[in-house]
Symmetry: C2
Subunit: 140 residues, 2 copies
Amino acid sequence: MELQEKLHNKGLRLTQPRREVVAILNAAASPLTPQSIYQRSVERKSDIGLVSVYRTLELLSELNLVRRVHGRDGCHGYVLASPGHHHHLVCRKCGKAVEFSGSADLSEFITKIQKETGYKINEHILQLYGICPKCQEERQ
Amino acid sequence: MELQEKLHNKGLRLTQPRREVVAILNAAASPLTPQSIYQRSVERKSDIGLVSVYRTLELLSELNLVRRVHGRDGCHGYVLASPGHHHHLVCRKCGKAVEFSGSADLSEFITKIQKETGYKINEHILQLYGICPKCQEERQ
DNA sequence: TCCTTATTGAAAATGATTTTCAATAAGGAA
DNA sequence: TTCCTTATTGAAAATCATTTTCAATAAGGA
């Protein structure tokens, strides 16, 4: 497994709380805040400390196994990252998020901006918001 | 003036603290946090309350006169918004941010993602990071 | 099974943001 | 200009998120 390996390479251990956070993120349909991850662990009776949730998220971010997703208002949630560079599309109604990879399509656009501004661009955050298919149906 | 009008329409007043926050954002070269806006007001001896900074930023956001800019780590800073839909390009070294408008160039990309995912996309956040021309020179 | 040491969790510390409320000042009316 | 109403302010307290501390625990190699 990805996680197992990456931890091992750094002399870190695969502990209960770490498994738990990954499991919860895995089961989640939308980005979760540290608080809500903690809450779910209480519900699941795995009951890990909130502090460990924070620490685990920080670790998983460093390992690129988790991505921070930005809301326009209340900021960060976390989602499990698929390998490679991805972006998120979040439903306004139900909060469900899907990943999509669009770097290729953006690169032309980014090159253009580089020329216009003189900046050397080496990273980007793109986040889309909309209504998912299911919620579109329910509207009617 | 924009601000004057918009406030008036809502029966709100153009007060000293509000002028001050706008003036500080106007003079800023990069996104400012509420804390740093407050600090600058102390330096300028205008000395408005931190609470008013928060309240003013919230108000200006509602009026679309200010935009919240996201960092990948420590989240929000605020910049004065130019009219229309804009994005930000932030320098990693000095923090200087420039605005650019790229909605037109993105629309094709967004349409494609809509088709792929079935989502109805109606908003997006795009933020680019890089090194500004000045900082590129200093590197050498 | 034992032993080393990374990791945990509770509590305290810190920091950001919001709420409360009496005092103040914006700006329309006289 | 002056007065009066009421939106707004600022200080302090309350709240909420996040980080630090540290003794107790548990991973996992020997």
